[in-house]
């Protein structure tokens, strides 16, 4: 029987990878705002997906937690989006 080891450090490694790719994407496409916006919202979407996965694996997922992740992602992506639009 294969038993998956849902170690939290693995979860955080995945999150760190998502955030690092997002930052690199923003830097890489620094002369193209449209692509930067795609990177920002993709990063926000992946953050929500990560949150769902993290809590499902921890067996404490609720709709309130989903709402929390969506709102946190909205604030984070909205802040960067606002800076991009006002540059």
């Amino acid at each position: 029987m294969i038993r998956l080891n849902h170690n939290h450090s693995e979860h955080y490694a995945v999150l760190a990878f998502i955030l690092a790719v997002g930052v690199l994407g923003l830097a890489w496409f620094r002369s193209d705002i449209s692509l930067q916006q795609i990177v920002v919202w993709t990063m926000a979407g992946l953050y929500v997906v990560w949150g769902i996965g993290h809590h499902v694996l921890r067996k404490d997922f609720t709709l309130m937690i989903l709402a929390e992740y969506i709102l946190i992602a909205l604030i984070a992506a909205g802040s960067i989006q606002a800076i991009l639009l006002n540059r």
């Binding site: 955080y12 999150l15 760190a16 955030l19 997002g22 930052v23 923003l26 002369s31 193209d32 705002i33 953050y47 990560w50 949150g51 993290h54 809590h55 404490d60 609720t62 309130m64 937690i65 709402a67 929390e68 992740y69 709102l71 946190i72 992602a73 909205l74 604030i75 984070a76 909205g78 802040s79 960067i80 606002a82 800076i83 991009l84 639009l85 006002n86 540059r87």
Partner: protein, 299 residues
């Protein structure tokens, strides 16, 4: 505050602030003489003021504004927007000195500083002063005049405010004749970022120099009106406002999340909420991105 309802209020507040900013752009004059700048609050008068403040600290005389150098700076900025490049030398090989000469300015020594994407004048001048080559232009003892252009436009796909500051010293200051033909086409870049032109004695023969034109006061200059260059009014940059709101909001959330994390672990309270560490990590990255992205570039 960390409950979804509290977070939703924050999202609504942020959306409201951004919508207000966008609406104010349609009617940018605010009560009390405030003006909402298009992209930045940079003004030519502030650039001159801060440049001279830096020179004053070095014990150097203040630069005066020369209308021909202003025209050359404006022409350079327009050329960069029209040809969509960000460099001292244009892709077609046009150098800064071409614009200076075309404006009718006869110089012995000249230099150029460029900046883009800055929200305010002080951070831009600070960036110039941090760069040794740009600082060398600002505090160059041979310069006596300057020309500044602050132009909004779209460069390389990005809406930006472009600042061109040209420095120069006329071929003969206070003299009608000289035995130096000081003008030269030799361009000696000090470093890749800044091209400067050194005074070179070519040959010794009397050269008649036309009398220097009186330097006009800054208010009389014929710089094309720009939204980010409104003299006599306090200009608020939407970028600065957004940066402040976003930074304050996110810093506040990070502090509350940290406090919540410490409190819950200290009292060992079991709760079914999101992962605070993840939220803090995300917001820290966002804060870093906001700070880095809001910075402009110098060349």
């Amino acid at each position: 505050m960390l409950q979804p309802a509290g977070l939703a209020v924050m999202v609504m507040f942020f959306l409201l602030a951004q919508t207000s900013l966008q609406l104010l752009r349609l009617s940018p004059t605010l009560p009390g003489g405030f003006v909402l700048g298009y992209a930045s609050s940079i003004s030519a008068s502030q650039v001159l003021e801060m440049t001279n403040a830096e020179r004053s600290q070095q014990g150097l005389p203040a630069l005066t504004v020369n209308e021909k150098l202003n025209q050359a700076a404006q022409a350079k900025a327009n050329h960069m927007f029209q040809n969509d490049y960000w460099a001292h030398v244009a892709p077609d090989g046009t150098t800064p000195w071409t614009f200076i000469r075309n404006a009718g300015y006869s110089y012995g020594v000249a230099g150029e500083n460029l900046a883009r994407d800055f929200g305010d004048t002080s951070s831009m001048v600070r960036a110039w002063m941090t760069s040794p080559t740009h600082k060398a232009n600002i505090v160059h003892q041979k310069y006596s005049q300057t020309g500044i252009a602050v132009v909004d436009g779209k460069l390389q796909g990005v809406e930006t405010t472009l600042v061109v500051q040209l420095f120069g010293s006329p071929t003969a200051v206070g003299a009608r004749t000289t035995n130096q033909a000081a003008r030269s086409d030799q361009v000696i870049p000090a470093e890749p970022k800044v091209e400067t032109k050194k005074e070179v004695v070519v040959e010794e023969q009397p050269v008649t120099i036309a009398p220097l034109e009186p330097v006009p006061a800054l208010a009389e200059l014929s710089i094309e009106p720009q939204s980010g260059n409104t003299l006599g009014k306090t200009i608020i940059s939407p970028l600065t406002v957004t940066k402040v709101i976003a930074s304050v909001l996110i810093t506040l959330l990070v502090l509350v999340l940290t406090y919540d994390l410490l409190l819950s672990s200290k009292r060992n309270i079991p709760r079914k909420v999101g992962n605070n560490w993840a939220h803090i990590g995300l917001f820290s990255i966002v804060l870093l991105v906001i700070i880095v992205m809001a910075q402009g570039k110098v060349l």
